[in-house]
Symmetry: C2
Subunit: 334 residues, 2 copies
């Protein structure tokens, strides 16, 4: 029996209702559009993200529950990167007709957990049928006027920080790929690859304390994303390999060897971390805590006037830092 579009929509509507409190969503799934009541004195933050089978996830490697969590988590990360609070989401889903029942149920269960945890109810979207699984998530967030943190505010002398660890999600993907049919121990790297935690609280905290001059989230890899932040701000940067919160290859990788994985290269070029990269004026650095609600904040370098990107290697040598993160239009470059 075929499922009709209206039946798929009915399933989504179930999720929307049972999700987080509707909050400012005045009209949800089932009409031509959703209606959202903006908060006075706030600006609206809008972000969309693709999550496509064969690019961002694999039908065989990734459980539908993780796909549901992560497609929302990455979009929420963009709201976090502005310092905003998520308010609601639009889910755009194209599915094979074989995936409108069990797969959809598990997918929606992962999505719902992220939606509840971050207070971001499902408000609308569009569904269609397709041989591949295509997902596009739009998240609407809010922030008090003048508080949003852009990429373009970094100034020479600012300290560069990252949250959490960088490169760990890429290590998690490597672990998952090598695991094949063997049961895989849940490690923090694997969790980070499958169920990343957008840094919403940290982003809000930095915005409310007006501590960060520039901020963005790390989705394509530190080397690529840092170069974007520097381009937007018209500055350069120098970071120190020794200070990078790189993943520990010994911890949690179990019996697999990672001879060709270098922690510094992972930290510089591994994508999908959804950590925050932000800059803080030098005199305010002491106000940045070592950890915020369990999330480590690490000072990894400085913004420079000179527009180049430099890396001080583990040997103490200063070299040019090349953007070698993820670029969907140059997939073979990695």
């Amino acid at each position: 029996m075929n499922t009709s579009e209206d039946e798929v929509i009915a399933r989504l509507r179930g999720i929307a209702r049972s999700g987080a409190a509707a909050g400012q969503v005045r009209l949800g799934i089932g009409d031509d559009a959703a209606i959202f009541a903006p908060k006075q004195g706030h600006e609206t933050i809008l972000s969309s993200d693709w999550f496509i089978e064969g690019i961002h996830f694999s039908r065989t490697l990734h459980a539908p529950d993780a796909v549901g969590w992560k497609c929302l988590a990455r979009a929420l990360s963009d709201i976090a990167a502005m310092g905003g609070t998520p308010r609601c989401l639009l889910l755009n889903l194209a599915l094979p007709s074989t995936h409108t029942r069990e797969w959809l149920m598990h997918f929606l269960s992962g999505l719902r957990r992220a939606s509840q945890k971050f207070g971001c109810p499902l408000a609308g979207g569009d569904t269609t049928q397709r041989r591949d699984i295509l997902i596009n998530v739009t998240v609407v967030g809010e922030i008090r006027k003048t508080l949003a943190i852009r990429r373009s505010g970094a100034a020479a002398g600012d300290a560069i920080f990252v949250s959490g660890t960088v490169g760990e999600a890429d290590l998690g993907l490597a672990l998952l790929r090598r695991s094949r049919r063997r049961p895989l121990r849940t490690t923090s790297a694997l969790r980070k690859h499958l169920y990343p935690e957008p840094r919403v609280l940290l982003g809000k905290w930095l915005a409310e304390h007006r501590l960060a001059t520039a901020m963005m989230d790390l989705s394509d890899g530190l080397s690529t994303d840092l170069s974007r932040l520097c381009d937007a701000s018209g500055v350069g940067a120098c970071i120190r390999a020794a200070d990078l919160p790189a993943p520990q290859l010994s911890a949690g990788t179990g019996k697999w060897k990672f001879k060709n994985l270098d922690p510094v290269a992972l930290a510089l070029n591994g994508g999908d971390d959804y950590e925050l990269l932000f800059t803080v004026p030098r005199h305010r650095v002491p106000r940045v805590p070592k950890t915020l609600r369990g999330v480590r904040l690490t000072h990894i370098g400085e913004i420079t006037r000179d527009r180049r990107l430099a890396l001080v290697t583990l040997n103490g040598e200063a070299v040019e830092l090349q953007p070698r993160g993820w670029d969907p239009f140059r997939r073979d470059s990695k």
Copy 2:
């Protein structure tokens, strides 16, 4: 030479800048998210729409300029269907690397014309590489509080109206398919298929005059969409085949014969019209003009207490009206 994601984004940024006045868009393409300043006393309307090669358009049949226009026009139609005013859009684009130059340029040109005509500048989105062309458009609109027109407000006795013609876009598609390599005369049916005009002004007018009790746009076909409006309102409907503003098969179809096309069937089940379907309390029907700014408004039937859908055929016979419009999950049913 490969195009990088940053180059594609630079092209989009060019469009965003040269587009309609930025209006309430405070921060556009190039940051983690867009920032939008909502108008006081207004609610935000949010709508997303897929536009996918092989489902909604064909790379060989449809010029990129028309793809650019139509992907935005259909999303704007959802804003029109609430009575709202479009404010900005997020464009999500997945393209083959062969399409990041000429095809993208023409696509963006069509998108820009729609964006300028309807005052809806490009504010953000996401791009990636893919063998197929995948488009998802999110449009943000606004409407004064309490004015939004939902699907659920129709009451027994209300008159049912449609704008423009119904079934004409499907006729345009048939014309385009039969034209093959012969040059095709531009007919209104073809224009309607390639460059539909979302009824934004009509939607606003109906909302501001508080004339419509329920409204939606016709995207999947009158029979299917009317059944959705009736479901949402908990009512039924009776419409008259003789009153449907069906396409004229003789006019503009040139030398091609359409023996198997029936105007009434086209009007009932043809999709992609992006006209408005709305209901008006009986005593207010005289206040609905015959045309509004050149767009015909036709009274096609009545809402009934009985929850069934009925059609009075051209022979005057009352039959059950089956929803036979477009359903992506039952594509073979059409």
